[in-house]
């Protein structure tokens, strides 16, 4: 990788080491960041971890009924950006977010805004599966319990099994719902977390590499799920698989070292990228 980055920076001819450490103006994004009917609107979002800037002036909309995929090299800030969208960054000491992020016209970083209903509305699947050290059933039922989504045990059972089915985990766990979620395989944990998230029917779903630990079949189930969810909801998905991005998303955003380099129709990005960095990345010519 050492040569990789070096060569790349030589080619782009614009990146000194100062840039790498984030002391530079943010670059204008290529492509149209807006959509016709946005649910979330982000403008000039900067994120710092302490003194280190991880996201630089990113603006991006997430529309109704669309799947936006975010791609980019590891460490470029995808997770960070995603976590801004439901204020999960609040939990990290020393993490600062500036700029404006709106959900349905409401600034989510507004002082008066309560992040709790926000997060119920904007669900998230994390990059590292993080099941609760509780039973599988309780993992999925938790959200419904706290939000009072169901009125009785039967409804809750129904919800749990439906969510697990949608996440493609039901058959594997239906006999052991009372066993700890932490005793599952990596991919099973990931699907459990997906089931947990969709069980509360959030309207926007943020997925940080939801299929990274999944085999093709499970991946297909999740992709199907995403497609199905899109009918009603908005979805932002971080993925390393360009094939997956191409399959599930309508628009794609390419991040690089904290900058949002290019946004566009997924088709266009993968067939006809406008920025050289994007092109290098998707053609695998990066290094």
């Amino acid at each position: 990788m050492s040569t990789t980055v070096d060569e790349m920076s030589r080619r782009t001819g614009a990146m000194s080491s100062a840039e790498l450490s984030g002391e530079r103006e943010s670059r204008a994004t290529v492509g149209d960041v807006t959509v016709a009917n946005p649910r979330m609107v982000c403008r000039d979002v900067d994120v710092w971890y302490g003194a280190k800037q991880a996201i630089k002036g990113v603006s991006l909309d997430i529309g109704k009924n669309e799947v936006v995929s975010m791609i980019g090299p590891s460490g470029c800030g995808k997770s960070t950006f995603l976590r801004c969208l439901n204020r999960m960054n609040d939990t990290i000491d020393g993490c600062r977010v500036t700029g404006s992020i709106q959900l349905d016209g409401q600034d989510i970083y507004d002082k008066g805004l309560d992040p709790v209903p926000l997060r119920a509305q904007v669900g998230m699947v994390f990059q590292k599966p993080n099941p609760f050290p509780k039973s599988i059933y309780e993992n999925v039922a938790y959200g419904a319990r706290i939000h009072g989504l169901t009125n009785n045990k039967a409804e809750l059972d129904e919800l749990v099994s439906a969510s697990l089915q949608k996440a493609g985990l039901w058959n594997e766990v239906k006999d052991r719902l009372d066993q700890p979620g932490t005793g599952l395989s990596g991919g099973q944990q990931q699907r459990l977390c997906i089931a947990r998230t969709i069980a509360v029917s959030p309207e926007v779903i943020l997925m940080d590499e939801p299929c990274s630990a999944l085999d093709p079949i499970a991946t297909a189930i999740i992709e199907e799920l995403i497609d199905e969810l899109r009918a009603n909801y908005s979805i932002a998905i971080v993925t390393h698989s360009m094939q997956q991005a191409a399959r599930v998303s309508q628009r794609t955003a390419y991040f690089h070292l904290g900058d949002l380099i290019e946004v566009g129709e997924t088709n266009q990005i993968f067939t006809n990228p406008k920025h050289r960095l994007t092109e290098d990345y998707i053609t695998g010519r990066f290094g």
Binding site: D114, I146, G148, N151
Partner: protein, 463 residues
């Protein structure tokens, strides 16, 4: 009709309010099927109602119980013939009132019962009855009013969860401030007397003097000549005894924690841990006897057989036994945090070919460090604050020495002996206890600041 009955009734009322607030929220939403129109879970509306029913009423009750007596007494006093109370001090009046109360409650009264007194007692009984009823009425009224308020407020859009959580948050803040208030209280109660002390003894002598002999000092002729208020030996003594204690407790405690959480079978662990915890609860008097009568003679014999000069009351004996006492502070607390280190950390280390002890020493202990340091700090604190053992086993001789076989004394021992013995209570001798307390407070504060910095520096957070 007594307050505890009322308390139970009130708790019942709160339970009712909870139920009723919940129901109300559900019906406000338009039935079970439309619960999603509610802002929060129905249970929060219930809690909201319960808190409204309970908190104001409880506050009122608290105030009432606190002041009822005062008020009744005032009324009774104002109705007494004025000549009875003429020219009496408040203490004397208090005694009269006590008599009246004794009379009213039917217990024995001393002296003769005058008609005035009898009348006052009857009046008191009567007022007391009224007040009790009034309290019931008032408290229940407030509770019902609170419930009514909650009822009126319960609408689907009301942010019940947020409100309930705000109340909880306020309670948590109050809880946290208790620690601060305690400190404040301690400082204030110690500061005043300390200042008085420093008026008569120069701080210079106190902080840098190496002679501690509070008894003989301050007899006009003897200041400087013989004993004095040089606190240095007390601090070195405290330091030595605590250091010895830590030398016992930290290795034993930490190694026990490690062994129990990493090596020992579950069953062994589940018995050994609580057994060790018993050590923390044995009364210090018992340790004192143990140190003075069992450990000290052994050390003495041993020392003599080695040709060493051992005082029969050595710092070593006190320190050793104190170390035993604080083992659980280190072992139990450390064990919990070591146990909490995720298995993935262990796996990562084993997979590189680390032995178990390497994993423990290099990965687990650093990861658990903040908690371990917390436990050790607590243990040190306990060692510094402990008195009985030192009184009984190390004695009271304020020697300035670095020899653990000598006898030393500690700050706490001096505080206790200065405060409890046959002291004249307004002499600088007694005040010295407060000055010692304050100084100890400042010293430990400094140590804690340093400890905090160290922990910050080495803290390693997993994930």
């Amino acid at each position: 009709m007594n307050p505890s009955t009322l308390l139970i009734v009130l708790l019942g009322l709160m339970a009712f309010a909870y139920h009723f607030g919940r129901k109300r929220a559900i019906s406000a939403a338009g039935g079970v099927a439309r619960l999603n129109t509610l802002h929060s879970l129905p249970a929060y509306y219930g809690l909201y109602a319960a808190l409204w029913a309970g908190i104001p009423a409880l506050l009122l009750m608290g105030l009432w119980v606190g002041f009822q007596n005062e008020i009744l007494i005032t009324i009774v006093k104002s109705e007494l013939p004025p000549e009875i109370l003429d020219g009496m001090s408040s203490g004397q009046i208090g005694l009269i009132v006590n008599d009246i109360k004794n009379l009213a409650s039917g217990t024995i009264v001393s002296g003769v019962v005058t008609p005035e007194m009898q009348a006052a007692a009857d009046r008191y009984t009567q007022l007391d009855q009224i007040a009790r009823w009034a309290m019931w009425l008032a408290v229940l009224a407030v509770a019902v009013a609170g419930m009514g308020y909650a009822w009126a407020k319960t609408k689907p859009t009301m942010r019940a969860r947020n409100r309930v959580e705000t109340i909880f948050m306020v309670i948590l803040v109050i809880f946290s401030s208790i620690a601060i208030l305690t400190t404040l209280g301690i400082i204030l109660s110690v500061l005043f007397e300390s200042l008085l002390f420093f008026k008569s003894v120069s701080p210079l002598e106190f902080f840098f003097g190496t002679l501690w002999s509070p008894q003989t000092a301050l007899r006009a002729d003897q200041v400087g000549a013989s004993g004095a208020f040089g606190a240095v030996p007390l601090f070195t003594g405290t330091l030595m005894v605590s250091a010895i204690a830590m030398l016992v407790a930290v290795p034993i405690g930490l190694m026990s924690a490690i062994y129990l959480s990493e090596y020992a079978p579950r069953r062994v662990r589940s018995y050994a841990k609580p057994t060790l915890e018993v050590l923390a609860g044995v009364p210090t008097v018992v340790y004192g006897f143990f140190a003075a009568l069992t450990v000290a003679p052994v050390i003495r014999e041993l020392g003599i057989s080695l040709g060493l000069d051992v005082a029969s009351e050595s710092a070593l004996a006190a320190g050793l036994v104190m170390g035993i006492m604080i083992i659980p502070f280190v072992s139990s607390l450390s064990e919990d945090v070591i146990n909490a280190v995720p298995q993935a950390m262990r796996d990562g280390s084993y997979a590189l070919g680390a032995t178990q002890s390497e994993t423990i020493r290099r990965v687990i202990i650093p990861a658990a460090l903040p908690g371990i340091v917390g436990g050790i700090l607590l243990a040190v604190s306990r060692a510094i604050g402990e008195t009985m053992i030192v009184v009984m086993a190390a004695g009271l001789a304020a020697n300035l020495t670095a020899n653990p076989l000598d006898s030393v004394t500690t700050v706490t021992v001096q505080i206790v002996t200065l405060l409890t013995g046959d002291q004249e209570f307004d002499s600088p001798k007694t005040m010295a206890a407060f000055a010692l307390g304050l100084t100890l407070f400042v010293v430990t504060l400094t140590l804690n600041v340093i400890a905090l910095q160290i922990v910050r520096k080495y803290r390693e957070q997993y994930e």
